[in-house]
Symmetry: C2
DNA sequence: ACCTGAACACCGTTCAAGT
DNA sequence: ACCTGAACACCGTTCAAGT
């Protein structure tokens, strides 16, 4: 997290006037953009805003970044640079998967804008490719067919992303903002007419407490892995009769 | 789907000049907005665009819609109006759940903008509340605790949304656009260096064929329900020793 | 090579005014 | 009640210049 502040610490003090024009670099531009996105939301990132913070004209930014799409791709890459892939060295595939999911979670906790970045439609670059490849390797090693492995990976990604942002409670802003939103949710759902919405009224505290991320995340991952295990088992019984596969999931 | 054309058929022919000023209504505004969002993507929806299509000044739209947020909320509601809730009358909770998930899928297939609409952070209105309430009721009836029921519902929603948009292959545009994107994916992943990315090269056809929505959706729902079943079973065994619950999942 | 300045075609939203 | 017109503070991006 702190490594992204470096770029900004050299600049900071807001709208500097004309002097010591801090030569831009792609890394600095992307670093500041990611920092702004994480602290103020992805919508706060604009060429004009970046230029302003750098004390430079909007068009100067274009020398280091081809377009907004390019900028967002680069932000995704820089974010994933901190991804901890050490879990691939576990021996059991379940531990490998769990490890990667928790590593991805950590990235998303450090970078609230990650949800938006990861759900953009674009071709992945180096870091994202490595994550993708490692995951497929684990699932193929566990005995899943290419198709299943891909589907399962996709669901892993979706699941982690949506678990971290905690569904309804998703806020890319500050901790305080999230508290306020939680209070609003509690008031809203708790105040619904009880005859018409008995289950919603009952669930109101749980809906509002979506801030309780740890247990929420664990529940979701357990749910997902339970499903994957079940599929693995049913695959193994199918292979028993068909037997066209090299390795069955253990 | 066609009911949204009604509003537009009266207007159409693009930028009409001054005459027969078609009195706006909230329903007409929201209907056209949803229609534009589904055909051209959510970003194509703007007050200026709506005003232009209606042959009216941008500010006229504000008489029927308080703000952009209000407009998006209303679009979500109008979209969910076509939600088929008949599945709640099934007898087994698994069938009820499956039915609702497939009904939601249908809504999202009819409305490509639904993904964006449903992942906005806002308090739900009537139609969305009813869907939420019905789902909780089913899960509570199946014996899940309020907290689990809420978590599971959340995952259902996330799962359906992300399954329908098919992860990487998500395109809110036309069928043709999706084909193009699929071809790009195939070329990209298929063309990666095989030593470095063996699993990605192998999976390339599957990644590109994410257009194959039916089997993809079925796989995801099966995965999710397998996980839920497993949780239900482990809950039942826990209750065996604790026994603090009214009903256990059957 | 790197940055500036002006322009184009867009946004959401406010405010005062017309009918 | 419903719509207009002008304005404010924003967008991404292009193009022709400056140094």
């Amino acid at each position: 997290m702190d490594q992204h502040n470096n770029n900004q610490d050299q600049i900071s003090e807001g709208t500097r006037k004309g002097k010591s024009p801090v030569r831009l670099s792609r890394e600095a531009v992307v670093g500041l953009a990611l920092h702004i996105a994480d602290k103020e939301g992805i919508d706060a990132v604009s060429f004009r805003r970046l230029a302003n913070d750098f004390g430079v004209t909007p068009m100067a930014v274009y020398r280091h970044v081809r377009s907004k799409d390019d900028l967002l791709d680069a932000m995704t890459e820089q974010m994933l640079a901190s991804f901890d892939t050490s879990a691939v060295r576990e021996t059991d595939w379940r531990d490998q998967v769990r490890g990667l999911l928790y590593a991805l979670r950590q990235v998303l906790l450090d970078h609230p804008s990650g949800r938006v970045l990861l759900s953009r439609r674009s071709l992945p670059e180096a870091n994202r490719l490595k994550l993708f490849e490692a995951s497929l390797g684990i699932l193929r090693g566990a005995g899943f067919e290419p198709r299943e492995a891909f589907f399962i990976f996709e669901h892993f990604l979706n699941q982690v992303v949506s678990l971290v942002v905690a569904g309804d409670g998703y806020v890319q802003g500050s901790e305080e903002e999230r508290q306020v939103w939680g209070a609003q949710l509690l008031e809203f759902y708790g105040g619904l007419p009880q005859q018409e919405f008995p289950w919603l009224v009952e669930a109101a505290p749980n809906i509002a407490a979506c801030v309780d991320k740890d247990s929420h995340f664990k529940f979701g991952i357990d749910l997902l892995l339970a499903g994957v295990e079940a599929i693995a088992v049913s695959m193994r019984s199918k292979n028993h009769s068909a037997g066209e596969q090299k390795r069955a999931p253990r």
